[in-house]
């Protein structure tokens, strides 16, 4: 075997390192094509409105204007990214039809000879909008009489007939009645923009063989290809997606936003078309991490054992689903944390509001659960008068434990991770915790 194959325990230079330090790494918008057209989008200036009219007449007179695209040009205008894994319904519009549900929602795409001409034409599109009441808070959105954001239901995503993703394990109310202490908390997090240094972009190029090559900085190449295929109603073999070089993503480049319009414009014009977000669009229009509100109620015994947890969580999905319904499922599976809690009840709501759509970001759904439940663990330590380390060792899950969502624990590492962390920070653990392992508990033998 060549020495190059022995990499465990060594530092290995990234395969793209040479390109990065010489400027030869080719990012999406570094590519040049003869006759390249530029696409820019007319966006809703308000959070919620009925579209009464769109007047393109002045825009069409801008020198360099090539054509406009409206919803009528999009073969399958209503989609949902996760439709590929069975999530329903299709609900987001590639281009708005008669209503806009968030500030920045695309209404019309303009294709022009230069970026400046596209921007000039965008600025000359006249919108006739009737502004509607908007809702920006997850709990306000669930109250009777709140403006309804969706066109297909109420303001929650539906999980198997329920307005929330539910987990039921044991009997929390009975356990609360037996608990020595009840520890409650409310946790709010804000939206976070991924802010990749390279903005979201795609360039679609019509090829001589009738296919389209689409250069994109998506993090999810086949999501983009398959959704574009569905939206444009062309077989996937007509689309050749080229990706892999992403100037920062962090979950922010999985939403299939630029590729369908760039490709549609290339089909309509038979010329290469570039659709790249400005920094402002990246910050104000691209998905963010959801804002979350989490209520946790824990039942604890005087010796520190956590015997019951009830969780009600709301994630602000913004105006459309994108990846957020899936985040709630992940959240519900993880809101008990890496702890063995015999009674758990979780209601996790994916709520629609008139805010910027939200989606994936690093550990989405779980990061906020971890924030809330680890603060709970510290509060519990305070209430029962134990060391925060002790509360975590006492409640740590072991292999062989059943998690509340009926997943048998087979790969527990919390105990060993905490032991390693204690060593690294020079914290002396009592023998009982220092020698503990994640092995199955003796009383729950195989």
């Amino acid at each position: 075997m060549s020495p190059a194959r022995h990499v465990v325990g060594r530092s290995v230079a990234r395969s793209d390192a040479l390109g990065h330090v010489t400027g030869r790494t080719v990012f999406t918008t570094d590519r040049a094509f003869p006759g390249l057209l530029h696409l820019k989008v007319v966006r809703s200036p308000v959070h919620h409105a009925r579209i009464r009219g769109v007047d393109l007449s002045e825009a069409e007179r801008v020198p360099g204007f090539v054509r406009a695209l409206t919803h009528a040009d999009v073969p399958h205008n209503v989609y949902t990214i996760l439709g590929l894994i069975g999530v329903e319904p299709e609900e987001e519009f590639v281009l708005a039809v008669d209503r806009v549900r968030y500030k920045g929602e695309p209404i019309v795409a303009i294709v022009a000879e230069s970026e400046q001409a596209a921007l000039d034409a965008v600025a000359r599109v006249k919108l006739d909008l009737l502004e509607l009441p908007a809702v920006f808070d997850v709990e306000e959105a669930l109250k009777p009489g709140a403006p309804i954001v969706t066109h297909w239901g109420n303001n929650t995503f539906m999980y198997e007939g329920h307005p929330c993703r539910r987990v039921r394990f044991g009997d929390v109310e009975a356990a609360f009645a037996q608990a020595d202490h009840i520890v409650e908390g409310r946790y709010d997090t804000k939206p976070i923009e991924h802010a990749p240094t390279e903005t979201t972009a795609a360039i679609a190029v019509p090829e001589a063989n009738g296919r389209f090559t689409v250069y994109t900085n998506t993090q999810a190449l086949y999501f983009s290809l398959d959704n574009t295929s569905i939206i444009l109603q062309v077989p996937g073999n007509q689309l050749h997606f080229v990706g892999g070089t992403v100037g920062g993503g962090f979950g922010g480049k999985v939403d299939v936003i630029v590729e369908p319009l760039a490709t549609l414009a290339a089909m309509k014009t038979n010329r290469p078309v570039k659709y790249a977000f400005s920094r402002q669009e990246e910050m104000q229009v691209s998905s963010t991490r959801s804002a979350w509100r989490i209520y946790m109620k824990d039942g604890v015994m005087a010796d520190g054992r956590l015997i019951a947890r009830k969780v009600t969580s709301y994630a602000d999905s913004g105006a459309y689903s994108r990846q957020t319904p899936y985040a709630l499922t992940k959240h519900a599976a993880n809101a008990a944390g890496p702890y063995a809690i015999p009674n758990v009840s979780i209601d996790a709501y994916c709520v629609f509001t008139n805010r910027q759509p939200t989606s994936a970001m690093r550990g989405f759904g779980i990061t906020m659960a971890s924030f809330a439940l680890e603060v709970q663990m510290d509060k519990i330590a305070e209430v029962v008068g134990l060391d925060p380390w002790a509360v975590r060792f006492i409640n740590a899950y072991h292999n062989g434990d059943m998690k509340p969502h009926r997943k048998l624990v087979e790969d527990a590492t919390l105990i060993e991770t905490m032991q390693a962390a204690a060593r690294l920070v020079g914290h002396e653990l009592p023998d009982a915790f220092r020698t503990m392992t994640s092995d199955p508990r003796p009383d729950r033998g195989a």
């Binding site: 990234r14 990065h20 570094d30 040049a32 240094t197 920062g248």
Partner: protein
């Protein structure tokens, strides 16, 4: 307004471009002269990814109208550092893993290059100060600062051997 011709030095060569007034140096370098190492993270002077050297000083090319560099010397990563990555600065960036996505790297390298040319033995604070206008969203900056420190040491060793 009519286009004008602007002449400047790009690396080793004299270049002449025809541009509309107020075209940015960034646009000219990227879209007329093939210098795609000049990135465009924000086009509003906020990220530093478009940094070039003008007469040896790091500047954000997205904020520079092309007329400003008429008769001056402009370097991009492609003209300032070797294509085989032999410069100690490039080697240090590779060795320290001073990037993930690489989008900020050209700007970081040019700022570091200008710093080391001006101050061959910068303090850690001076390095952090020099890099303050360049945004990296992947690394958390620690390996970038370490790479510039390592490059300063390597350049020092090279100069010692050269004597």
């Amino acid at each position: 307004m009519a286009s004008t011709i602007v002449t400047f030095q790009l690396g080793e060569r004299e270049v002449e471009v025809m541009v509309k007034p107020m075209t940015t140096l960034q646009a000219v370098l990227r879209y007329q002269l093939g210098q795609t190492a000049v990135k465009e993270g924000c086009r509003q002077g906020g990220c530093g990814s478009c940094t070039v050297l003008v007469d040896g000083e790091p500047m954000m090319s997205c904020l520079l109208p092309i007329e400003e560099v008429a008769g001056r010397h402009v370097d991009t990563l492609q003209t300032a550092l070797p294509a085989d990555a032999a410069d100690p600065l490039q080697q240090a960036f590779i060795a320290e893993g001073a990037f993930q996505c690489g989008y900020c790297t050209p700007g970081m390298l040019l700022v570091a290059r200008a710093l080391l040319d001006r101050d061959p033995h910068p303090t850690r604070d001076a390095i952090i100060d020099a890099l303050a206008g360049n945004v990296c969203r992947c690394t958390g900056y620690t390996p970038i600062v370490a790479a510039v420190e390592a490059a300063a040491r390597a350049r020092g060793d090279r100069d010692e051997r050269g004597r």
